[in-house]
């Protein structure tokens, strides 16, 4: 057995989404760099405002997750933030978030990095912490203000947003964990060297050996070992760097378009990196019914995937009302043009 399942039953006690207010239409990027010739893979992407970063987005997502879980922040034994856009190179984002939500000082706090799957890494670790009995609750967060190099294909999609999960014992969970699985290999599909502002990527190489190999490998293995097929799932959420990749992977795994539709947000928010798949899961939980089985599969360049199988409980109906729905954040939008985007994302040299 290579899937993971803690000896103590665990699950998601609360979840919270965050999306910033600003949106950059893909047509703006195309207008500036290709006179409108290139087609954007997304309608628009979410853009952080001037006063936002991965820490401020993590704080709001965390407050939403705690409100839904109905716990006191002092009950948390871990506050873990997964991000590739940490505001400080050295100084934990986790301590700022922990202080802001009132979880200090009896808590471990740290930052995690694994490109786009840093968010689900914090979930795996939180399941382990709660599952081992070291603590009753842990806060797992993925949040990013992703940067795409101007005139790079990633500029259409590199977006800002995040999600947070209070992980707790099964008896206080709105969705309990059936099992999880992690699948990694050394694959240099995308990277950013220290002190560099923008990442580099392997173009088409990011598809088959990276995204599809890991996402499909992780999902297949977890479902096989749990004895499930795609038909057993109400919804699946796969990492979504663009709309095409998760659609192709889902089809290959046997899922229908309707099974991935609810959590497929990339066309309207872009790729929120560490927040991407787990933000999709918040949209699914907003609409899920008790008994629904949900598959979550992340992907992080470098490369690897985490896969999780959840079953929604009766607690979902009451808890989802306790914080703003993901649809509320999606509807809260103000379009900006490329010039304002360049200002907000610090792409202008001020000298």
């Amino acid at each position: 057995m290579t899937i993971m399942k803690p000896s103590r039953e665990v699950g998601i006690a609360g979840y919270g989404a965050y999306l910033p207010r600003y949106r950059l239409p893909g047509s703006e990027v195309s207008r500036v760099w290709s006179e409108g010739e290139d087609e954007s893979p997304v309608v628009e992407k979410a853009v952080a405002g001037l006063d936002e970063d991965a820490v401020t987005m993590a704080i709001e997502a965390a407050r939403n997750a705690i409100a839904r879980a109905g716990i006191r922040p002092q009950q948390l034994r871990a506050v873990w933030v997964g991000s590739e856009s940490k505001p400080y190179a050295v100084k934990p984002s986790g301590t700022i978030v922990a202080q802001a939500i009132g979880a200090t000082p009896n808590v471990t706090a740290a930052d995690w990095e694994f490109a786009c799957k840093a968010g689900t890494e914090t979930m795996q670790a939180s399941f382990a912490l709660v599952g081992s009995g070291m603590g009753d609750y842990a806060l797992a967060i993925g949040a990013d203000t992703a940067q795409g190099r101007p005139n790079d294909a990633l500029e259409y999609t590199a977006a800002s947003g995040g999600a947070a999960y209070v992980i707790g014992p099964r008896e206080n969970s709105l969705a309990y964990l059936e099992g999880s699985y992690s699948f990694v290999s050394d694959t240099p599909d995308f990277y950013r060297r220290a002190h560099e502002h923008y990442p580099r990527h392997g173009g088409r190489f990011t598809g088959d050996p990276a995204y599809f190999h890991h996402v499909e490998g992780a999902a297949r293995h977890l479902m096989e070992e749990l004895g499930y097929t795609a038909k057993d799932y109400a919804q699946a959420v796969l990492h979504q760097p663009n709309p095409k990749f998760p659609a192709r992977a889902a089809k290959s795994l046997g899922f229908t378009p309707a099974q991935i539709e609810t959590g497929l947000l990339v066309g309207r928010v872009g790729n929120t990196y560490a927040g991407s798949s787990i933000l999709g899961l918040t949209a699914v939980l907003d609409e899920a019914s008790p008994g629904d089985r949900i598959l979550l599969v992340s992907f992080g360049s470098g490369a690897g995937s985490d896969a999780f199988s959840f079953v929604v409980t009766d607690l979902i109906t009451e808890r989802r009302r306790k914080a703003p729905a993901t649809a509320t954040y999606l509807a809260r939008r103000r379009e900006v043009d490329y010039a304002v985007y360049a200002r907000y994302r610090n792409k202008l040299l001020m000298h």
Binding site: D51, E52, D53, T56, I59, A100, P324, T328, R332
Partner: protein, 136 residues
């Protein structure tokens, strides 16, 4: 803001942590040593909800040093539902949308940065209140 002051005021800045007077029950923000209502000692921490309404406001076009990159921005007096009046920036709102009485809620945001290599100051701002549960 100097590092020691940033550290000393972290709870009130990051999470709007105020005080409640143990003698007369009034809620206070920012925290202080003496209750301005009854002159008793005030030292019990009290987490304010962050919900309130705009009492008055003004838009800043010529910002003080350290805030220039955010202009134009709106500063408001916010009457919190527990009673205290707080001065803070509004965020995630166009200045034309701001009105007296507008319901707002606290969010933690970047306030200022001490240059490219200095500390980032986080603190409270207010934005138009989002409704919990509803998909607007």
């Amino acid at each position: 803001m100097h590092i020691p002051r940033q550290w000393r005021t972290r709870d009130q800045r990051l999470s709007l942590m105020g005080e409640v007077c143990p003698k007369c029950g009034v809620k206070l923000f920012p925290p202080r040593d003496v209750c301005p209502e009854c002159s008793g000692p005030a030292k019990e921490p009290f987490a304010l909800s962050g919900r309130g309404a705009v009492y008055s406001y003004s838009t800043v076009y010529h910002a003080p040093e350290g805030y220039e990159s955010y202009v134009p921005y709106t500063v408001a007096l916010v009457r919190l539902e527990e009673g205290p009046m707080v001065t803070a920036q509004l965020t995630d709102v166009d200045k034309e949308q701001v009105a007296i009485g507008m319901p707002v809620e606290m969010v933690t945001r970047k306030i200022a940065e001490d240059g490219e290599d200095g500390a980032i100051l986080y603190g409270y701002k207010f934005r138009p209140a989002l409704e919990a549960g509803a998909a607007c």
